[in-house]
């Protein structure tokens, strides 16, 4: 466990311990030439724990699996799902799948961008909200679709953005209180 502390910088030790035992449970043989096949799975776990994959987490994973850091960061930069920047407390996702696009999701996205003064992919300066786009969440019947956490808003038009943001602000506040 000594290597666990070696890379710990600012993120909670407890999460590193969880990640460590996740990797241990996979029972990877350090001589297995196919051990890289576990990398993406481990990164998914790491991101679900930390919320994002900053360099310190990348280095931890690299060391743990015995692959070099550049390979780990190369994989992270390739896949859209992985992010090296933290998201906002409340993340708002606009579906930009074809069905939603045809029903006007572009305008909905613009409206959110105007409201939050950030572009898609960005986080507000207070760290409360982030905005991103998704591709087809499988609710095309409700297009355009907006997702806030697990909640799905359907048939969204730009005029509804204010109401959705009211919900988001409530959600962010309740998260603050629970802390």
């Amino acid at each position: 466990m000594s290597e666990v502390t070696e890379y710990k910088k600012i993120l909670p030790e407890e999460l590193y311990r969880k990640l460590d035992s996740f990797v241990e449970d996979l029972g990877i043989d350090s001589k297995d030439p196919r051990k890289k096949g576990y990398l993406i799975q481990v990164l998914h776990k790491a991101q679900s724990l930390f919320g994002y994959l900053p360099e310190e987490v990348q280095k931890f994973v690299a060391r743990k699996l015995g692959v070099c850091h550049s390979e780990v960061s190369g994989v992270i930069s390739f896949y859209n799902f992985f992010t090296t920047l933290p998201k906002g407390k409340v993340n708002i996702s606009i579906c930009m799948g074809t069905a939603c696009f045809v029903r006007g999701s572009e305008k909905v996205l613009k409206e959110f961008e105007n409201f939050l003064h950030i572009k898609s992919g960005g986080v507000t300066s207070d760290g409360k909200f982030s905005l991103d786009v998704l591709r087809c969440v499988g609710a095309c019947g409700l297009a355009p679709v907006v997702m806030v956490g697990d909640r799905v808003y359907g048939n969204v038009n730009p005029k509804m953005v204010g109401d959705i943001m009211t919900d988001c602000i409530k959600l962010a506040n309740s998260m603050e209180e629970n802390k």
Partner: protein, 486 residues
């Protein structure tokens, strides 16, 4: 009127996907038992080959032939991969099958393993499908308890295990060689074929990659026979296809139709016509690799070969209906933006060519294009198609070429008349105040973000066209319909 026929979706919504007993009651695992006890691996492959089943993941490659190639390889290890990466950004057929009929995919993969001599299966699934993942995990566990999966299946010599691998949001990983690279923990970049995965796939071993829906067709074919399957659909494309019908249509959702049905039937009868009584313009199939089907082809029977000949493709099942309000140039641009986001960047024709192509299209939608731009677009499309390494690049110009072929008039209007008939391309719009209708309420002037509307109270207002940024705020704010867009 031809109706829907359910093969791939036969159990979805009818059989509780979380109950293996219910699945067994619906003839579940009967096909596996038949194969293991009554048929040699080669017999199974023959049935699949003779059924004429073609891959439902887009390419339409004959499934039996793929299996035969992998079976012919001599190797200590072979793999069966189920492609559940479902990348077409407007489609969710595979998710529906995995969530609604989980066991049938596991059963079919096991049959594939038996046929080609593989003992390991992998489902490569989008991480964005948590419910499907949960159900697959449970289904794997319970089928092992029942002896349908794992060591010595049903007491035979045959063993087969299935594990899950997760995608991480890269469209190109749906391409089979990129998918294999991704499972190996690498960046999901495609490699040149041949060798095909059936010869050299995952970890260099013979590998079969099939789509979820392809697998969902296997058990019914084994149970009901090749002749039954061939009695549905057309000569060259037997069976059915699942589509995610969406867009400007009344009944949206998943449909499963026999091959050979006309688009007219799909739209008018199954889809219940165009929304809000608007006029049909086109249907897009094949997602970012496909093209559109227009009014003139409404009566073309839908199958692999017909769709290709009219410049579209079957694709994995996205079917987007567009009406008069959709601008076809903008639509082509939408898919191109998608391709650029998703290009893996390995080869220049795709990485650089598509960016350049988008710039040309932007000139068209911004009103900066001249007539020479069309041949430039066509030439660039041809180069990208020819020189790209993988299917993503090779098919990426299709939406542009297809809209150019059927909607050349819309391109011309953008270029020559600087007009967008569907009023979508902002730069080409013009907001004007009709003097007769304006009563000088000042509402528009107060709401204009760049303050380019002038006029005194109770007098006719005017818009300074040079300063107008075409945001449309005045248009939505005027209560007297005094502002028109053209």
């Amino acid at each position: 009127m031809v109706k829907q026929v359910r093969i791939a979706l036969r159990n979805c919504g009818r059989v509780n996907p979380e109950s293996i007993e219910d699945y067994i009651n619906a003839r579940g695992y009967e096909a596996l038992v038949t194969c293991l006890f009554d048929k040699k691996p080669a017999d199974v492959i023959n049935i699949i080959t003779e059924s004429g089943l073609r891959g439902r993941g887009g390419g339409g490659f004959p499934t039996g032939i793929k299996w035969k190639a992998a079976a012919a390889e001599v190797s200590d290890e072979k793999f069966i991969i189920c492609n559940a990466d479902e990348g077409d950004p407007g489609a969710f057929m595979d998710r529906a099958v995995l969530e609604g009929d989980t066991h049938s995919v596991l059963e079919a993969m096991t049959i594939a393993g038996y046929s080609v001599g593989a003992d390991k299966g992998i489902i490569y699934i989008r991480a964005e499908y948590p419910l499907a993942i949960e159900r697959i995990k449970k289904a794997i566990e319970i089928s092992k308890e029942y002896g349908f999966l794992g060591k010595n299946i049903l007491g035979t010599e045959f063993s087969f295990d299935i594990e899950l691998k997760y995608g991480a949001g890269a469209f190109v990983c749906g391409e089979e060689t990129a998918l294999i690279a991704s499972i190996e923990g690498k960046r999901g970049e495609p490699v040149v074929k041949p060798p095909y995965p059936a010869q050299k796939g995952l970890w260099g071993k013979p590998t079969i990659v099939n789509n979820v829906e392809t697998f969902a067709n296997i058990c019914p074919i084994i149970l009901n026979g090749k002749d039954w399957f061939r009695s549905i659909g057309t000569q060259k494309s037997p069976g059915t296809k699942v589509f995610a019908l969406a867009g400007k249509i009344n009944n949206v959702g998943l449909i499963e139709i026999p091959m050979g049905m006309t688009l007219r039937n799909v739209i008018d009868n199954i889809g219940g016509g165009i929304r809000d009584g608007k006029e049909f313009k086109a249907v897009q199939t094949g997602g970012p690799s496909g093209g559109c089907i227009t009014r003139e082809n409404l009566d073309t029977p839908i199958d692999y070969d017909n769709l290709l000949s009219i410049g579209s493709m079957m694709g994995s099942g996205g079917m987007i209906v567009m009406d008069e309000d959709d601008c076809m140039v903008n639509f082509a641009k939408f898919f191109l933006e998608f391709t650029i986001d998703e290009s893996c960047g390995k080869c220049a024709p795709c990485r650089v060519g598509n960016k350049r192509l988008l710039e040309l299209l932007e000139k068209v939608t911004n009103g900066q294009a001249t007539e020479e731009i069309i041949p430039q677009i066509e030439q660039l499309c041809a180069t990208i198609k020819k020189a790209s390494l993988c299917g993503l690049g090779q098919t990426s110009p299709n939406p542009v070429l297809s809209t150019l072929r059927y909607f050349r008039n819309e391109y011309d209007e953008h270029i020559k008349d600087k007009k967008c008939r569907s009023k979508v391309c902002k730069a080409l719009l013009k907001y004007e105040i009709v003097p007769d209708k304006c009563n000088g309420c000042t509402r528009c002037a107060r709401s204009c973000p760049v303050q380019c509307i002038s006029g005194k109270v109770k007098e006719v207002h005017t818009i300074d066209q040079k300063a107008c940024i075409k945001c449309g705020v005045c248009y939505t704010n005027c209560k007297f319909n005094a502002i028109i867009v053209s």
